[in-house]
Every structure is written in C-alpha cells, then in structure tokens.
C-alpha cells in the first residue's frame, strides 16, 4: 500500500514536471507572442514612420492606380534565380509598405528549379538569370501556362586582379588563353601569349605568376562566363567550351575575392555587384571593340562585353485571377525596376528599357 502510494506520488511528480515543462514552453511561446504582437503594431506604424518611404509610397499611389492603400489582401509566390531574388525581396518590402496585408513569399532555389516550379503552375512569378530555354518553354506550353517575359536588370561579370598587378585590360582571347581548356598547367600569364596571339589577341601578357579564382561549375555566373567569353574562342580552336580544371573554384564570392587579393598577379571573376565594393582591381575587357571598364552605364548599355540580362517570368492566368498578384507585378515593373534593382546593388535598366518592360507587361496576351 505504502509503496504503491510512493509510486503514485512519483508518477504525479513526473506528470507535474512534464506539465511544468509544457508551461515553460508555452510561456516562451506567449512571451515571443507578445513581442511579435508589439512588432506587428510597430509594423503598422512603420508604414507611416520612415518619411522618405511614405513619400515614395504616396507618389506611387497617385501615379499608379493599382496600389489601393492597404485594403488589398491575398497571396503571391515568387520563386526562381537566387541572383534575381534580392530584387524581388526589395520590391516585396516596398510593396508591403503600401499593402501590408498582401502576403508575399519570395524563394530563390535557382533559375532551373524555379522554371520547373513555374511551368508546373505553382508560382506566380519566377526570376531567371538567363532567358527561358526552349525545352522549359515547351513544358510550360504543354501544361497550358502562358507567361510574359520581363527584363528586370542587367548583371555584369567583373574580371579582376590584385591592385598590385600592372595589367589593366584583357581581351576575350587573353582570357581564353589563361583560363580555357588549353591553358591547363600554365603557371605564368606569359604562358598564354602564344594562344592569345593565335586568336588575334595582343599576346603581350607579362611573365608573372598566375593564380586563378572563380565560381564553381554549379553556378549561373560560371555558365554565363563560359557562354559569353569562352564559346567563341573555343569554337575557333575546335575545343570544348570549358575552363581548365586546375583553378581554385568556390561557391562563395568572398572566398574568390580574398583569393584575388591574396596574390599580386592573380586572376578571377565574379558578378559585378560583388566586385565593385571590394578591394580589387577590376580589369577592362576587350570584347572586340576596344577596352571597356565595367560601370553602371557601360553594363546597362551593353558596351561592356560581359553582361547578362536578368528576367522574371509572370504566369498571366494566375496573376490576372489574383488582384494582389497583379498589383504586385504592376508595382514591380514600375517601382521595382526604378528603385529596388539599384538598391540591392544591381545595374538598373536605362529608362527606355524600363518603359519597354512595363509596356510588355501591360500588353500581355
């Protein structure tokens, strides 16, 4: 009797302890809850707090009838390229300042993955750091998805070296001679002179150690670099358009930048937005029309030879059926292109192209 009583007592204590644990968890929960509610309140206030943004918002409201002052509700899902992702997120933030009740989710699994989701009809928009491929468009068509292609911005690829390197300009032929498949084993810049000269390059690169840093094969930046810089020369030489295997690849742009800084006569490439603020020497590039340094202007005009367009694709039917989504895309092609692109460090489109994107959206099928 006594022992069962003790057991009972123990069991009661066990359950009460578990209950206490549950209460602690619940307390933590409600604690965070109140925090969040105050935050929600703050967020409501924030819509009016930063004056600059509110002014922007007001302007937006007056010249864009789609923004309807916070009464709009709904869900929007954006997926696609991780390169375009920050632009969409910034646009989402600006849009939510006006329409806090539209719930927008922006994901960035990559251009290819985004296309697959988009062509399954599961996303309103998808970002792409290249144009849609034929086979992807075929899947979209098969699934009866009509879409509009919209140019968002332009991303340049910067070719860099260390600040201590006297070289200031490289041609496509030089780059092929330094990083192309035939350069495997080259340890000095001058090793590439012969190939460069055969391709019509200057062939006057100095005899200095060559350490190469760049993105790995899985990256869209790698693909774009191969396609724009290497394909022409590789075809001329009867080679496959790939890079030499013996360079230091990294998925992390900071590692590439550090590598380039760490060696006096290094060579590397990353997205322009990443290189422009770093302590490296950005090389001018000769794509056949003389040396051009990448700047916002030369990248936007296409004068700088290594640049790629950034797109997003909009699912017409899904967006037309969803007032929140159509307001968001209307906002994207105006305020997004004019403000968000530059705010997250990309090169904004010239006004004429921005107008073209807006016209393409307004004139959708």
């Amino acid at each position: 009797m006594n022992s069962t009583g003790a057991q009972r007592g123990r069991l009661i204590k066990l359950t009460s302890l578990l209950a206490a644990l549950a209460m602690i968890v619940a307390a933590c929960g409600s604690d965070g809850g109140t925090e969040a509610t105050t935050d929600d309140g703050a967020e409501g206030a924030v819509t009016t707090a930063p004056e600059e943004e509110t002014e922007e918002a007001m302007e937006e409201e007056t010249d864009d009838e789609a923004a309807s002052g916070g009464e709009l509700t709904g869900e929007v899902f954006v997926t696609g390229s991780s390169t375009v992702e920050p632009v969409s997120v910034r646009t989402q933030e600006l849009f939510n300042d006006i329409n806090p009740n539209v719930n927008i989710a922006v994901d960035g699994p990559g251009t290819g993955d985004g296309m697959a989701i988009f062509c399954d009809g599961e996303a309103d928009m998808t970002g792409a750091s290249r144009a849609i491929k034929e086979e992807e468009a075929a899947i979209c068509e098969e699934n009866g998805i009509e879409f509009t292609e919209l140019l968002v911005g332009i991303d340049g690829l910067a070719v860099m070296t260390s600040n201590n390197n006297p070289v200031s300009c490289v041609s496509f032929a030089d780059i092929y001679a330094l990083v192309g498949p035939e350069s495997t084993g080259f340890t000095s810049w001058s090793d590439g002179n012969e190939i460069s000269a055969e391709l019509g390059g200057a062939g006057d690169m100095p005899d200095a150690p060559l350490d190469i840093f760049g993105p790995g094969e899985e990256s869209g930046t790698f693909d774009a670099f191969i396609e724009i810089v290497m394909e022409g020369s590789a075809e001329e030489r009867g080679q496959e358009a790939i890079t030499r295997p013996d360079y230091s690849p990294s998925a992390d742009d900071n590692v590439i930048l550090q590598g380039v800084q760490g060696s006096d006569t290094s060579f590397g490439w990353v997205g322009y937005a990443f290189a422009v603020n770093a302590d490296v020497k950005i090389l001018e590039v000769d794509g056949g029309d003389g040396c051009v340094a990448p700047t916002s202007e030369t990248v936007a005009s296409g004068e700088y030879p290594i640049s790629r367009p950034l797109y997003f694709y909009a699912n017409n039917a899904r967006i037309d059926a969803n007032p929140a989504a159509s307001a968001f895309v209307d906002f994207y092609v105006t305020e997004g292109l004019a403000t968000a692109v530059a705010e997250v460090g990309y090169v904004e489109l010239p006004d004429a192209l921005q107008a073209e994107t807006k016209a393409a959206w307004d004139g959708r099928g």
Binding site: L14, L17, D39, P86, S88, E93, A105, G108, F274
Partner: protein, 326 residues
C-alpha cells in the same frame, strides 16, 4: 626457506607503485585523453567566441529588433531579424514533441517489454538502427513526396489527402518530416533507457500482483524517465538544427511578408522559414551585402542559445529524476 608474509608482498608492491613518474605509459595516456578533451573544448570555445564576436553588432545594438524582425533584402534594414525563423523552428520542435516522442517511446516499450525476440523483431530493430543513420536530406525527399507534392504515387494509393492536410510547403510538413527523422533516435535511446531498468524492480511489481501494464507504468517508465528525456530532448535539438530537409520541403530563403506570433496557428498553413535556413541564406548573401555576415553570425548565436537551453533542460530534468529514483 624464507617465509613470505602478506606484509612483505604489500611492502614490495608499495615500492613499485611509489612515485608518480614511474608509470610513464600511463601518464602519457592520461595526458593524451585529457588533451583531446581540451582540444574539443577549445574548438567549441573558439566557435562560440567567433560567432559572438561576428554577430555582436546586431546582438548588442538591436537585440529586440533582431529577435522580432523578418527576412530583408538589405542588412542595414532595421526590420531585419529572426522572428520568422524562430516561428518555424518553434513549431517544428512542437511537432517533434507531439508526434515523435509518444510514438517513439511507445514503440520502444513494445520492443523491450512485449515483442517476442524472434527474427522479425531483430529485423525491425536492425532497420531502426539503420534508419537512424540515414542522411537527413533523404528524409527531406521522403517529406517532399509524402506531405508536399501532389500527383505523386501517393495519390494513386489513396494517400493524396495527406497533402491537403499539411497544405504543401508549410511548417506542418516540415514538423512531420523532422518528426519522422528523429523517430529512430527516440526509439533507440528510449529502448536503451528501458533496458537499463533493473529486473528486480519489475519482478517486485509482479510479486505484489501488478499486471504487466501496471508494472510498466509504475516501475519501468519512472525509472527510465531520465534516460528517455535526455534522448528525446537531444533529438529535438537535432531537429531544430537541420537545414537540408527544409530546403527540399520548400522553406523560403528570400522574403516573407507574414511574421506571425508563436501562438498564431493559422500561419501553419502558410509558407515558412526556419533558423537554419536564415543562416544559410544570410551566409550566401554576404558577398552582395557584407552586413549579412553579421546577421548570419547573430542568427547562429540565437540558434545555439535555443539548442543549449534545450540541452540544459534535458540535463536538469535528468538530474532531478535521477535524484528521485536514488
């Protein structure tokens, strides 16, 4: 013939045992094992110091804002923070506690107390042990097919309603997937705790006329509780730290408007993110915007604090129960 007394032997042994310096091998061994301990402690210390140092700018100047903020496109944004990630991770932990713990403990009781020791049981135990070693990304795929994607084979075998229940890429799917992921670990640790219950206790219960279920309730579970709790709470820490399965399930990496409070259950049907995903995202954004390195480090500190709190709870509870069963 000298008579060797016990005293002689003891004296001799005492001579050889005297002097700490004489057992060279033993000393080296002791230093080596202690050294590995200190190296591990050093690594953990450096890690904690590093993330604290890197994340200090966020943690010291705007801790409240950081804990209540959201995913943002720019690191200087004063609404940047981890609250959405905390929401996702909190509910994942809740689902693990609600689903994996009772199921796992019940399975362990069955395997230890009821199941016959035959080939089938041994096969099941082997399978559970193997499952506990399967990479988490594989469970992510399982979760993707079970709870997120429509039009998989499940639709044909009549399980398509699972997706309607979870709502696709939601915290519910993530919680269920991670509950499945930690289930084998919960079963194994609970089994070991139950196995350690002295048979005298069980026989004593039978001796006073207890039925089997009474014996399990009154003897086995209370005695095994410390071990079971430690194992289950550690498995919860693991569930909270997983990123790979969540990426497959569709946790959001870019931006989310909704920033629900912890008790807002309606948001369980919406898109979500979680602490490990925030860390992955911000680490990858730091090339574009250096300030995200600070945000990522600060988020790591938050995750570490959550995990350490859970582990501390586990240790405190274990000590408490152990004292009781004394």
């Amino acid at each position: 013939m000298a008579i060797v007394t016990v005293g002689d032997v003891a004296r001799k042994n005492a001579q050889t045992l005297q002097g700490a310096g004489r057992d060279v091998g033993g000393t080296i061994f002791r230093i080596a094992v202690a050294g590995t301990l200190y190296v591990s402690l050093l690594i953990i210390g450096v890690l904690i110091f590093d993330v604290l140092f890197d994340g200090w700018d966020q943690l010291s100047t705007r801790l409240g804002g950081f804990l209540s903020g959201t995913l943002r496109s720019r690191s200087i944004d004063d609404k940047l923070g981890v609250h959405q990630g905390l929401y996702g991770s909190f509910w994942i932990a809740a689902f693990v506690a609600i689903i994996a713990f009772p199921t796992g403990i019940a399975a362990a009781i069955y395997l230890e107390e009821y199941a016959n020791q035959n080939r089938t049981t041994r096969f099941i135990e082997l399978a559970i042990r193997n499952l506990s070693g399967v990479p988490s990304v594989v469970y992510g795929l399982l979760g993707l097919f079970l709870f997120v994607e429509k039009n998989t084979i499940l639709g044909f075998i009549g399980l398509g309603w699972l997706v309607d229940l979870t709502g696709g890429p939601t915290p519910i799917s993530a919680g269920l997937t991670l509950a499945i992921l930690v289930l084998p670990i919960v079963i194994i640790t609970s089994q070991e705790a139950i196995r350690a219950v002295p048979s005298g206790l069980k026989e004593g219960a039978y001796g006073v006329g207890a039925t089997k279920s009474e014996m399990i309730r009154t003897q086995v579970l209370p005695y095994a509780a410390p071990g079971i709790l430690t194992g289950t709470l550690l498995s919860m820490s693991r569930a909270i730290g997983e990123a790979a399965p969540l990426i497959l399930i569709g946790a959001i990496s870019g931006g989310l408007t909704a920033n629900p409070s912890f008790v807002d259950v309606t948001a369980l049907q919406d898109r979500f993110t979680a602490l490990p995903i925030l860390i992955v995202t911000w680490v990858s954004q730091r090339g574009r915007d250096e300030g995200f390195a600070t945000a990522a480090a600060a988020a790591i500190v938050v995750l570490l604090v959550v995990v350490l709190l859970l582990n501390m709870t586990a240790i405190l509870l274990r000590n408490r129960f152990e004292k009781k069963r004394g």
